[in-house]
């Protein structure tokens, strides 16, 4: 039997430029998410940065069923690593590809 992980992907926009490739920024985001979701819920959701599309857009991967609590947690985060910022969830999907296509459409429509 093939074990397949059931993941969901979230396209997120931040209000200020972020570099989530750096360890510090990713840890800061993890800390803030754990603060609002609770450590156990954050562990179950297993949220990770899957891709950074630009300095303001990125894709988070998470386990299925935790989209609602992760979206709420992102809404409440207003500060990351001593920098004022806000997060807006644009779209949820089962594949990274469809979110990248959605991002390309947004980028071209200006």
């Amino acid at each position: 039997m093939i074990y397949r992980r059931k993941l969901r992907y979230l396209l997120v926009e931040s209000s200020s430029p972020l570099d989530l490739g750096s360890r510090n920024a990713e840890d800061a985001l993890a800390r803030e998410l754990a603060k609002f979701m609770g450590e156990l819920e954050y562990f179950r959701a297993n949220a990770r940065v899957a891709a950074q599309l630009s300095d303001k857009f990125f894709i988070l991967s998470l386990n299925r069923g935790y989209e609602h609590s992760l979206t709420l947690a992102l809404t409440f985060i207003k500060r990351l690593d001593d920098r004022q910022t806000g997060f807006r969830t644009i779209r949820t999907s089962g594949t990274i590809r469809s979110l990248k296509e959605a991002y390309e459409k947004l980028a071209h429509s200006g």
């Binding site: 926009e13 209000s15 709420l72 807006r88 644009i90």
Partner: protein, 171 residues
């Protein structure tokens, strides 16, 4: 279903973000609608959202012809005001940025206050509207996020969707 938001940021910023965030349109305070605290002011051409510091002032404000909604502030509305809103068909506007952008200490209080306002309005069958009323770009939210916060405050799926579209009907 079409969703609408109301913000206090520059109109150009709101306009270009509307489609991306899942809204048909984002209204701006000051250019599309005004906040009215002094009920003695004469009715003007612009539509107004009333925010009264006392029950008497708010009741007077709700009856104005240019008033489209009443803002839920620190003072909780009593049954008479909510029934008046129901009779006039004007919604109680819950500002969500006051909850999401509150500091650590005030957040709990803001959540309880907003939840209480929603519960009282639903008990008195007064119409509800939700908007971010974001004062800065950091506090703006997508439609998906606002629906999540509305459900956190006690609204059902249907009530939350109707509340997010209510501003469009009013304005």
């Amino acid at each position: 279903m079409a969703y609408f938001d109301l913000v206090a940021v520059p109109k150009e910023m709101a306009g270009e973000a509307a489609k991306r965030l899942g809204f048909r349109r984002i209204f701006c305070l000051g250019s599309d609608v005004e906040l009215l605290e002094d009920m003695a002011q004469q009715p003007g051409r612009m539509k107004r959202i009333v925010a009264g510091s006392s029950a008497e002032a708010l009741s007077r404000g709700i009856r104005r012809s240019d008033a489209v909604a009443a803002l839920a502030t620190e003072r909780s509305l009593n049954g008479k005001e909510l029934e008046l809103l129901r009779e006039m068909g004007k919604p109680l506007l819950i500002p969500l940025a006051q909850v999401t952008c509150a500091g650590e200490v005030e957040r709990g209080r803001a959540l309880r206050r907003a939840k209480g306002a929603v519960r009282e309005a639903m008990m008195h069958k007064a119409p509800l509207a939700i908007a971010s009323m974001a004062g800065s770009v950091d506090c703006m939210m997508s439609a998906q996020q606002m629906l999540g916060i509305a459900k956190l405050l006690g609204m059902s799926d249907r009530v939350a969707e109707r509340a997010l579209g209510a501003l469009g009907e009013a304005l």
